[in-house]
């Protein structure tokens, strides 16, 4: 058994997919995706996508890191086990600054990586687009547009014709096997 996932069309150059993406958006589709071997400058705008949300995760990570650093130093050197060393204060925001600084960066970096994973819904090792026989080429030198069946505007014949009209090669239906 399998169900339809979407319709794919292959393009041969960055220019072609850039223009095709603009047309697909203008046609009113919302549930579709471009697959490219590298990020294409300006494709986000063509697809009508805004700015990525990853910076929110970075900021949250950075703030957490900074205060974690402060908390560690305050708890360990002032609260739990005060120890006089070199006549310096038990806690100060100044002298252990390198610790806050490093933890800010460390947590912000984790926030960035995991934020990217979260927003991209990764790891996900199975996905219907992997069923496309030539999917591997999208990591090499081919460009692909996939319009999903779930799209409210989806109509098998109309969508196929649109993609053909945009110059898409080997327009075909991607099927998702189900147990």
């Amino acid at each position: 058994m399998d169900i339809k996932y979407g319709i794919s069309a292959t393009f041969n150059s960055a220019k072609d997919i850039y223009e095709a993406a603009g047309e697909v958006r203008k046609a009113g589709y919302t549930n579709w995706e471009c697959f490219t071997p590298m990020p294409i400058h300006g494709l986000d705008a063509q697809m009508g996508l805004g700015r990525s949300k990853v910076p929110c995760f970075t900021l949250a990570g950075g703030i957490t890191g900074f205060f974690t650093g402060m908390l560690i130093v305050w708890y360990m050197n002032e609260f739990d086990y005060p120890l006089i060393v070199g006549g310096k204060p038990y806690f100060s925001p100044i002298y252990p600054f390198p610790v806050f600084y490093e933890l800010t960066i460390l947590f912000a970096a984790f926030g960035t990586l995991f934020g990217m994973f979260f927003l991209n819904r990764l790891p996900r090792h199975n996905h219907p687009v992997f069923e496309h026989p030539n999917f591997g080429r999208t990591g090499d030198d081919k460009f692909m547009v996939v319009i999903e069946v779930d799209d409210p505007k989806f109509d098998e014949q109309e969508t196929t014709e649109l993609l053909r009209g945009l110059g898409g090669k080997s327009v075909s239906v991607i099927r998702e096997p189900i147990e």
Binding site: M38, D80, V99, L122, G139
Partner: protein, 473 residues
Amino acid sequence: MSTVKTASDQADPAILGKIKPAPWIDKPLVENKRNLHWVTEKICGIVERKTPVWWWWCFILALCIASFTGMGLVYLVSTGVGVWGNSNPVNWGWAIVNFVFWIGIGHAGTLISAVLCLLKQKWRTSINRASEAMTVFAVLCAGIFPLFHVGRVWFAWWLFPIPNSNAIWPQFRSPLEWDVFAVSTYATVSILFWYMGMIPDLAVIRDRAKETWRKYFYGVLSMGWRNANNHWRNFEMAYLLLAGLSTPLVLSVHTIVSFDFAVANLPGWHTTIFPPYFVAGAIFSGFGMVLTLLLPLRSLFGLHDLITQGHIDNICKITLATGTMVGYAYSMEFFIAWYGANSYESFAFINRAFGNYWWAYWIMVSCNVISPQLFWFKKIRDNTPLVWIISIFVNIGMWFERFVIANTTLSRDFLPSSWGYYSPTIVDIFTFAGTFGFFSVLFLLFIRFLPLMPMAEVKMVMPQADPHGSKNH
């Protein structure tokens, strides 16, 4: 306001039509008009084809050399830290020298991947992956020395803020504790950055894989990446942010490493020039190592279209610039030692150049200050074997720099009664030599199993990636 007309006000704009400025020709970053598929085949081919014979020879040799470190450390742990040459007054010896040396080498990788990314230097794309790998492996080598220098290495975890049975916490007023945070953060963030950049390339290898183990190995590592534009959008933002985070990180790491010295009250160490001087030196040594590693790789794998003469030129120029900064720092230290009118400080510097370790000082100056000056000449930059030899001199010179800083000061401190002369033992020498083997083992495994260059990033700087289809992107 005066109404004096300046020359520019009077200039006739029509003249701009007559003078024809020379056209600025951007050299292509990928030569010989290669297409996208060629890049994929080239980079994936290195991982996919049969292991070359030279790789096995190098790997076996590297393993043998790495075993020196293994044996040295086993001997040290089973006998005691006294098997190293450290004793009063030089209690730091080679351990700190090797630590700073390796950590400095790491800095060029982060500079290439992060700082050059923020500065939009497109030529970084073909060399950044290998340089980041160099960073990660160099930091691992660096970590060995302070870890084992603590003596009872099984208590090294006390450096981290983890509760222990003695109920004692780390002491955050010490620069050595800051170093623990700086270096462990540096190692972690470098690995994250390196790994994240690799995900799309691992996915390409996964999609091309024929054998089952490859499908699983690269499949698991690539996290199910699927080249979707939405993935790229978040990926690019995350990449930019990690570059933005790594830039202050890399500057802070060597700054904090220099605090290990500069926060002490010893003449020759207690100077404010140390942080910038150490950072410049780190980048200098790292670029030396980048040349040492990439020039052989370029000819072994025939990567001349990807690592072009333009790339080598740029690396040589950065080496020249940072080498000159290091030379400036050396002379400024001397100037301040005289200008500061502190007799201990001036003694420390005269002793550095003409005292018990004079030979080390002059090796340092000739390798670090004089040898990079050769890169002013295009003929020398074009001569790849010569560039490689100079890069070796840079590596040697930077090791001696740390040796000079650490040892001249400690061996001649305030009281002549406590003066001494430090010499390494055979265990010191073999443990350090072995780290080159350890580094090479990791690097060889990297070039065998992981994508050597970021394919997507290389493709991005090719004309084919331009959505407007212009010929010269």
